[in-house]
Amino acid sequence: MSRPQAVTRRSAKSEYIETDTGNKISRRARIEGKQNIMLAGKSVVMAGAILRGDLHRKIDRPAEGEKGGPITAINIGRASVISTDCTIRPPMRMSRGLMTFYPMRIGDNVFIGSGTHVSALSISSHVHIGANCVLSAFCIIKESCKILPDTVVPPHMVIPPGSVVGGRPARVVGEVGEGWGQGGGGEGEEYVEGGDLRALVRSIK
């Protein structure tokens, strides 16, 4: 007697895996070293995004009594959105003949546009990064910045808070308005650049 076929519970697999903390990770995202990547909550990693968590600092053998804690290669904050086809790779440097990687920290409410290459050392909160940008190794982006599309930020550049940056090489071309990041909430404009991106995260399906 044949068993009746199991009824499929879902007709199609959804695009995003949703975790308990509300992160949405696309099934088509290419993630290496997922145990070294921390997503704080309600963040989105879209299709085609490459996250290299396998490139991390090699810990030396811990001595007696020292704990060898988990190494996070990439730390992403709350409500951040990594759009399609981005590459997030921790910055690396050759020192004393060894290639060492440094942990990368991305803040809250950061929007990274599609196709950008991110090797920055740290990106602070409320930053809006346009599409097709290149943030080279060890650059530091401070709060509330706006990076225009197609910008190339050279290595080791520090972008001061509240600046609008564009060009190749990136130059500070202006300052963000006073109301940067405010104005979300209510109908119509649910999210603005630099503002709370939770509504955007909710709308990504």
């Binding site: 879209m46 959105v81 759009s83 399609t84 086809d85 929007f111 546009g113 599609s114 196709g115 602070s124 809006h128 346009g130 599409a131 080279s136 530091i140 401070k142 709060e143 509330s144 599309p149 190339v152 050279p154 290595p155 080791h156 550049m157 520090v158 972008i159 001061p160 808070p161 509240g162 090489p169 130059r171 500070v172 963000v176 308005g177 006073e178 109301g179 940067w180 405010q182 104005g183 909430g185 209510g186 109908e187 119509g188 404009e189 999210y191 603005v192 650049e193 955007l200 990504i204």
Partner: protein, 558 residues
């Protein structure tokens, strides 16, 4: 003009275009004929001066003393504190690099260089290296001085360096100012307030005659300019032919990229004469400052960043944003059922290529204009717009419901609690019972939104703190129809489209009125006693401004 449609720009009342100058002032300045500021002037967004008074909402602050919008020109800036240097790296893209050790490992001679990671320039190209990684500006200045001084005795009589020239010129001008003098100066100490007085008194009591006085008084020399290198004049001479020839020669052999731009030459006085890129000297990056903004008219702080915290955290002690005080407008087409995705948040690469379709002329289109109210009282809004848009291309605009009320904004908790119920509230009451229940489950019923027709005098949609009305717009044509009589030259010239003429922008005058109970009226208290208190203890408040809605681009055709 924003690159993406639709947009809303708000006009600050500071310019003549939005607020005609008060008549008393214009009467005094008889020479100042107000050309385009009659009593009820319409704001023309295509006016070349209009750009200077329009700003998007995130650039506007609000002065709650004057109860007016303040744009970037109206808030004077004061620098709270400087420097706020980014202590990690003092200059962008260039950093100290490099320890060079001798291979034997015995002697460690550490030298440092500047290196750009983008274009691979390094200070070795100009032969500069540093002994320690700190105080780079000092080391640079020292090396520059030694380089300049070593160059000058080699070449003979050389013009003075820039710094010396500047110092000479500054002392020269100071001397000139004191010599040519203030007329007040000789008499500030004496009890006689003017030379005429002094002369009169002197002649009364005898003493030197007026003529003698005039002669002995030194004639103030008119202020003159510098006349020589000692006084600070820098002469360019064509005599130094050899150097000029060498320069021209190198300009011919090297390419355009090797000559300096004006921006590069102006970056530092040391670079003012550099014509070729290899003569440029590194310049330290400027330090950044944190600015606090004050209203220009009343000295009220509008934005005051906290100076105590480190640079990293942008916190404000006071920040009064326009978007929390003025009704906010936004426009979208009636045909699209949901708001268009914000183009700044392009999630997929394919979306980037999409260009918004042009609007066809002569076809009536309907738009929904949404007004959002950020303040805690319900407001009454009156809208006004000219029948045809000003500018080269005239489109007809009709507001179907120009006068309506918008509810108050609640607290954050109210919004959160009611967000689940807003979907029910926005649906027009159905037949009740089952249909309404079904609609609330499935969202807005599809049939209903198609059947609704915009009616004159009725609002389209009303939610807790926003109201939407319908605008009908008939875009005008870019080119006028060919007529029977051939046009003259001037007419043809006038008809040429300039850049930005094909953008459909609708100017709207928004007037908001609301009432505040007397005890909550802080601004009125501060102004003191001028407000009119109604019978029931409320103070009437009013705010009016021009606003420009960018709808789209008009295409050819029709």
């Amino acid at each position: 003009m924003a690159a993406t449609f639709p947009y809303t720009h708000y006009a600050c009342p500071c310019s003549n275009l939005t607020t005609p100058a008060p008549t008393s002032i214009s009467a005094k300045r008889a020479s100042l004929i107000p050309v385009d500021a009659p009593e009820d002037s319409t704001f023309n967004p295509h006016d070349p001066r209009a750009n200077y008074s329009l700003s998007p909402l995130d650039r506007l602050l609000f002065c709650d003393e004057c109860e007016e919008i303040r744009c970037q020109r109206c808030y004077g800036e004061e620098i709270i504190h400087c420097p706020t240097c980014l202590f990690e790296v003092p200059s962008s893209g260039v950093r100290s690099d490099g320890n060079r050790r001798s291979s034997s490992g015995e002697e460690v001679e550490e030298t440092y260089i500047l290196q750009c990671h983008y274009c691979d320039w390094s200070s070795l190209d100009i032969g500069v290296h540093f002994s320690k990684p700190t105080k780079i500006t000092e080391q640079l200045a020292k090396q520059r001085k030694s380089r300049v001084s070593s160059r000058s005795p080699a070449a003979g009589a050389q013009p003075l360096s820039h710094d010396e020239t500047f110092a000479n010129l500054a002392t020269f001008y100071k001397e000139q100012l004191s010599e040519s003098g203030d007329p007040q100066n000789p008499y500030s100490n004496s009890p006689y307030s003017s030379p005429n007085n002094l002369a009169r008194i002197m002649s009364l009591y005898g003493g030197l005659s007026v003529n003698a006085l005039k002669k002995t008084r030194e004639k103030p020399q008119p202020m003159r300019e510098a006349r020589g290198a000692k006084e600070g004049m820098l002469m360019c001479s064509f005599e130094d032919k050899a150097a000029n020839d060498a320069l021209l020669q190198s300009m011919q052999t090297l390419d355009w990229a090797n000559t300096t731009t004006t921006g590069q030459r102006l970056s530092a006085p040391a670079n003012n004469d550099a014509r070729l890129v290899d003569a440029l000297w590194p310049v330290a990056t400027r330090l950044r400052t944190r600015k606090c903004r004050r209203c220009r008219f009343c000295p009220q702080y509008l934005s005051y960043p906290d100076p105590k915290l480190k640079v990293g955290n942008l916190r404000y002690k006071i920040r009064v944003l326009a978007l929390n005080h003025i009704p906010r407008l936004s426009i979208r087409s009636l045909q699209t059922s949901c708001p268009l995705p914000n183009p700044a948040f392009c999630l997929h690469a394919a979306d980037l290529q999409q260009r918004q379709p042009d609007i066809q002329p002569h076809i009536t289109r309907q738009y929904i204009l949404t007004i959002r109210n950020p303040i805690l009282e319900p407001i009454r809004i009156t809208l006004a717009t000219p029948t045809t848009t000003p500018g080269r291309v005239a489109s007809r605009v009709t507001i179907l419901c120009p006068s309506f009320t918008v509810g108050p904004a609640g607290d954050v908790w109210d919004e959160a609690l009611s967000s689940s119920t807003t979907s029910m509230a926005t649906i027009a009451p159905g037949n009740g019972g089952r249909q309404a229940a079904m609609e609330s489950l499935t969202g807005r019923g599809a049939d209903e939104s198609l059947d609704r027709q915009p009616e004159a005098g009725k609002v389209w949609e009303r939610t807790k703190n926003s109201t939407s009305v319908v605008l009908e717009i008939v875009p005008g044509a870019l080119k006028s129809l060919p007529g029977i009589v051939p046009k003259s030259e001037t007419e043809l010239e006038e008809e040429e489209l300039e850049e930005g003429d094909d953008v459909l922008e609708v100017p709207i005058y928004v007037r908001a009125e609301w009432e505040v109970s007397e005890e909550h009226d802080d601004a009125g208290d501060r102004k003191g006693g001028k407000r009119i208190v109604e019978a029931d203890g409320n103070v009437k408040k009013e705010l009016a401004f021009w606003c420009v809605l960018g709808v789209g681009r008009i295409g050819e055709g029709g």
